[in-house]
């Protein structure tokens, strides 16, 4: 009787594990049997809120696309010592052409880091282009 109870328990655990795996934990299912290039962490770039390395990376990956001297869609930000609180407000609220950025894109702590970096960065960085990895050439 005891053995039967153990067997039934094991079966029940397996059933729930399979059910959980297939119906609730779909992200964990292997996408492909072969090794995925993108899943090698050293290659994968992650650009969402909570994933940024620092304010400088955010500037180069997002802001510089419009705010470099050579592009001129948005005003040059570096070397002007804008107040961080003003910058943070603009990022969240947008102005005219400038879109808003949500906390899912840049969280509050990252936004503070970005604004402080912009406040202190020299104007000369606005003259440089950046490569695709956000590293200054």
């Amino acid at each position: 009787m005891r053995i039967l109870f153990i067997k039934l328990s094991v079966l029940l655990i397996i059933f729930y594990a399979v059910h959980f795996f297939y119906f609730y934990n779909i992200d964990a299912i292997a996408i492909s049997s072969k090794e995925s290039i993108a899943q090698k962490k050293e290659f994968l770039q992650m650009y969402s809120g909570g994933q940024w390395k620092n304010g400088e990376q955010i500037y180069h990956a997002l802001c510089a696309q419009c705010h470099l001297v050579s592009i001129g869609i948005g005003p040059v930000l570096l070397g002007r010592h804008y107040s961080p609180i003003a910058l943070m407000s603009i990022v969240r609220h947008g102005i005219n052409t400038m879109p808003t950025f949500r906390p899912s894109e840049i969280n509050d702590a990252e936004l503070l880091s970005l604004a402080q970096w912009i406040e202190q960065a020299p104007a000369s960085l606005s003259l440089n282009n950046v490569n695709l990895f956000g590293v200054i050439k």
């Binding site: 993108a38 992650m46 809120g49 696309q65 609180i85 969240r92 102005i95 879109p99 906390p103 695709l132």
Partner: protein, 544 residues
């Protein structure tokens, strides 16, 4: 009195910054919702209970209901009042399981949700819902690139993956892959653009023709993997689109029948060589004849992409309108003619990029030059394009790179108003001419400039033009609203339906496609989402 940009920035801090950063940690729910319109039939008591459950499921930090925190979800550029697109909250989800939990709660309390991927459908409604009182389901944090197949040039991505993220991930590995990007590629992402049937610029530029396989969470929480995704350990989910039996992927495009959480993206194999060329035409007649030439070349696969643009479109990216004309009405034709004549610029331009081996390009370039010669256009290629910022931009987006140059358009008139008007038109001179004449006439009548062009498909073009207006000026916004409405109506009457539209005009666009389609969509909606919780109003689809 003029205010310097720095003064403006710093003054903004006083008004906005303190509330952004120093908001009280606790508000009463009644206060939080007091100024937000609720969805029809929704009761405050239900929302309060649901919010508690959302917080339990996702954590307090991922449930945004404070009106200040919602501001980034509400900035729209379209000619439609903000209040009509005001969400009641936003939920930041991180997994499929989160979404299943959210859907369960939404079904229980009949709360509508508006799913967004990167939320960058700029000029089409951005991140805000089609109707007020919805919760935005923000999937930006689901941003894993699950796979890149370097042999087949496919990627499997989540909703929050951006084009920039995908391109950077590809380039850091030196893979021979070019991603097709839309003009917003610096900020937007492939899932949202594919699902809204957006268009890019390279060989894979027709984005809804260049994907394979979706994972969809249905309203009841069930997970559906389309096509070969139904096969356990599928090997071809991202390479063979059709699977077995009915192909249902189209049901989840521009619709509200489910929440797409994974999609297979097709990209272009980097060729050995490429060659960009531009043709300039001085008048409409030559441009429309050029469309016929381009279509024949496109149907023969001599060219694989192409954009015909009114020169004001490229010029508007670089200068302010006030440099051309200071009136509030449309810029008079005589002024445009004089400006472009003085600048020795054509009125229309066609840009394309040849791909292949050097030998293929040499042959195809000769074919292209010969074909266009009859129309008398000014053919430019190679070194002659050096220094042309617009040509440089087009070459970048046609060769797997991205930039935001086209956003320069938004500074042309200023004021943050933009609505992309986009009818699908046969790739034939008579049709292109007719749609252009109807549209430009409507724009001019309402005081707006025609800033647009035609993206070459094979048998069709996407006639895409940007209605630019000052959103701060209520009279101008009202004119823009009437203009857009009339443009949809007159193009439809001439047989040109919009292939995509913004959240303020989805009902009208759906009406132009007839009762049968509308009723069919409603039947599907009722069957798949009986409580109507997923994105009511998307493409004019409701359960009632």
């Amino acid at each position: 009195m003029s205010v310097t940009r720095r003064e403006f920035f710093n003054k903004s801090a006083v008004v906005l910054g303190s509330s952004l950063l120093l908001e009280p940690l606790h508000h009463s729910l009644a206060k939080e919702f007091s100024s937000i319109p609720l969805a029809k039939g929704l009761q405050m008591s239900h929302i309060k209970e649901a919010v508690l459950e959302f917080r339990h499921l996702l954590g307090n930090e991922n449930v945004l209901i404070d009106i200040q925190k919602l501001v980034p979800y509400t900035k729209i550029m379209i000619p439609s009042p903000d209040i009509q697109h005001q969400p009641i909250g936003a939920l930041m989800v991180h997994s499929v399981r989160d979404i299943q939990g959210v859907l369960k709660i939404c079904n229980q309390y009949r709360i509508p949700i508006w799913p967004i991927s990167t939320g960058r459908n700029i000029g089409y409604g951005s991140a805000a819902p089609a109707t007020p009182g919805q919760l935005v389901l923000d999937m930006r944090n689901m941003n894993k690139i699950l796979e890149i197949d370097s042999d087949l040039c496919t990627a499997l991505v989540e909703p929050g993956v951006t084009y920039r993220q995908l391109i950077d991930t590809i380039n850091i590995q030196n893979l021979n892959i070019w991603v097709s990007v839309p003009s917003s590629g610096g900020l937007s992402g492939p899932m949202g653009n594919i699902l809204d049937r957006g268009v890019g610029y390279n060989r894979a530029g027709e984005h809804f023709a260049n994907f394979s396989g979706m994972e969809v969470i249905l309203a009841d929480g069930e997970i559906l993997r389309t096509g070969l995704g139904g096969i356990a350990n599928s090997t071809a989910w991202q390479s063979y689109r059709w699977g077995f039996g009915p192909w249902v992927d189209g049901l989840f495009s521009q619709s509200n029948f489910g929440v797409v959480t994974k999609i297979g993206v097709w990209m272009m194999q980097k060729p050995e060589a490429y060659q960009t060329f531009v043709i300039g035409w001085d008048d409409l007649e030559k441009m429309t004849k050029g469309i016929d030439v381009a279509r024949k070349l496109r149907m023969d696969n001599v060219i694989e992409n192409g954009v015909v643009g009114n020169t004001l479109y490229s010029t508007a990216q670089l200068i302010k309108r006030s440099a051309l004309y200071k009136g509030k009405d449309a810029i008079p034709e005589a002024i445009l003619a004089e400006y472009f004549s003085n600048k020795k610029m054509p009125r229309w331009g066609f840009v394309s990029c040849l791909y292949g081996t050097k030998e293929q390009i040499e042959v195809n370039l000769k074919i292209v030059q010969k074909a266009f010669k009859a129309e008398g256009g000014n053919f430019i290629t190679g070194k002659d394009l050096t220094g042309d910022s617009n040509a440089s931009h087009m070459e970048r987006v046609m060769t797997g790179r991205t930039d935001m140059n086209e956003f320069g358009l938004y500074n042309f008139r200023g004021g943050g108003g933009s609505a992309w008007f986009a009818p699908a038109v046969p790739a034939r001179s008579a049709d292109v001419r007719r749609s252009y004449e109807i549209t430009s006439k409507v724009f001019r009548k309402h005081g707006f400039d025609y800033v647009g062009g035609f993206l070459m498909g094979v048998r069709h073009t996407e006639h895409v033009c940007d209605l630019l207006f000052d959103r701060r000026d209520s009279e101008e916004m009202q004119r823009a609203h009437l203009c857009f409405k009339e443009a949809i109506q007159l193009n439809a009457e001439a047989g040109y339906g919009v292939y995509r539209t913004n959240t303020g005009f989805m009902d009208q666009a759906a009406e132009t496609y007839g009762v049968a389609q509308k009723m069919f969509n409603k039947k599907l909606k009722r069957a798949l989402d009986p409580n109507g919780i997923i994105a009511p109003g998307k493409s004019g689809i409701f359960i009632h």
